[in-house]
Symmetry: C2
Subunit: 299 residues, 2 copies
């Protein structure tokens, strides 16, 4: 089964207390796609400028990611510049240049329209809805968002959410969207807006997943070295949806397993800048950390 | 088997966004003792003043807590006054009056000296050491502390830690004691100071436990209403050590189970002011939440 991701492909400049990386491969669709590609075929829709290095596209293709939906248009690629202090949970943006991403209008290639699993990465909720209008009855739609859309396009976001199966947010976004400080109550309120499931990402503190029949709580994987948290949320999404698509099942045990695989991918991704750590990662590494997760959480 | 706790019995005045409680029963030895009493006999050593209400002592006794070590001396009982804002993870102290606690010198009654499980609640590390000198080869010693002792009595604290099996701290304390921001590395450094185990309490985000053979991670129990976090850490300690003493075993599976019981007790304790919620709590409630914990963490 295949996974469709619609989001950004970007060039990131990131500074952390441990080092700096300039103009490296980034963007939500990148982190998601590379992570999902360990489990499933990935269809990617995004836009880059004429300056985007061909080698990055070669890398994506090498991961069995279909890039027919990756448009190259006149202009500069989306650039994000940010930094982290010792509290690696909080990203500080120093510069955002949307460039060609400003006029991004997702155009889903015919070959992608039957993708069974869809990830709407963090883009304008109106564009997310236009994606849903172009795909044919996917089995599962997962939607990410951010504070900017919650604050500036709340009604549009709510309209999009009505067509979404799983809403994925971080703690602060969940509280802001629901206007409710308690996460359990916030999740319930978000489910009342449409999605049957809510996944709340808590960074190093793990993940909460809520649905009608109860919830699932997974702690973060304790890491000795967290190098760069950029892309952790999207790597989580990629591991989650990729492994679900790979399993081809939406049973509760498979959904829980996929949350663990999402956390495994995110835990690897933060161990280096960009998606460097994912480049030499093997399925054996992934299975090994999955087993570690089992071992350290069992009682 | 019995558990010895040496710490404070206090009168707390607490304000949270949800209400206020004046001069209610508090103190580390109280929260620990009441929580541990669900699983084991408890020997309590602390001091109160002449103003301390007899009804509180009756309550402790009603919980099978031996209060022969609770001294009543001339003067006022230790009082703590604090408040929480919406971030319930952080306590703000507005007033601390040590009163009779200022001159507290733990005098362990003969009947307590063979307690097999010892909890050194957060008091001066020199006093903690004097407790260890008075007990006869306990099977397990657990030690709590706080930033004040880490900053002002670091060397004394390290001497105490050399005789301790399990060090129990919150995240910030672990980082400060180890002078290391990464929790995995901090735990390793703390273990090199003596304790064979380190338990790091992360409030709503759960618990990390480290030992030579690996670690155990338990997420926090997702609660719909957190009313007052005062005493959560000590309730955790009481549930942990009480259930270990109850089981009479120091096997790894039993230690992990006890971490879960500790979290269960803490999760109940924060549902009301003081230890009100623990007053009508039953073993059935405890087992039920333990099973919930299993259910929401299994994959």
């Amino acid at each position: 089964m295949s996974v469709l991701v619609v989001g950004s492909v970007a060039l990131d400049t990131v500074k952390t207390p441990f080092g700096e990386a300039r103009e490296v491969l980034g963007g939500s669709a990148t982190f998601f796609g590379v992570s999902a590609s360990f489990f499933s075929h990935v269809n990617l829709v995004a836009v880059v400028g004429t300056d985007f290095p061909e080698q990055h596209i070669d890398f994506l293709r090498s991961r069995d990611i279909d890039t027919r939906g990756l448009k190259r248009v006149e202009g500069q690629t989306f650039r994000w510049e940010g930094y982290y202090e010792y509290d690696l949970n909080e990203a500080h943006t120093s510069d955002t240049r949307l460039n060609v991403f400003q006029d991004f209008e997702p155009d889903i290639p015919d070959e992608y329209r039957r993708s069974e699993f869809v990830f709407l990465a963090n883009i304008d909720p109106e564009l997310q809805r236009s994606v849903l209008e172009q795909v044919e009855r996917p089995r599962l739609v997962v939607c990410d968002t951010m504070n900017f859309w919650i604050e500036n396009k709340r009604e549009q976001l709510k309209r999009t959410m009505a067509g979404v199966d799983v809403m994925m947010l971080n703690e602060a976004e969940a509280r802001e969207l629901a206007e409710e400080p308690n996460l359990v109550m916030a999740a319930r309120k978000i489910m009342s807006m449409g999605p049957r499931r809510v996944i709340i990402k808590k960074g190093e503190h793990g993940v909460l997943m809520f649905c009608d029949s109860g919830y699932f709580v997974l702690p973060g994987f304790p890491l000795e070295s967290v190098f760069d948290p950029t892309g952790a949320g999207d790597s989580f999404g990629g591991g989650f949806l990729g492994s679900l698509a790979g399993a081809g099942s939406l049973d509760e045990p498979d959904i829980r397993k996929s949350v663990v695989y999402g956390s495994v991918l995110a835990s690897f991704n933060v161990e280096s800048f960009s998606c460097e750590r994912l480049k030499d990662l093997t399925m054996e590494d992934i299975e090994c950390r999955y087993q570690d997760f089992l071992r350290i959480t069992r009682f």
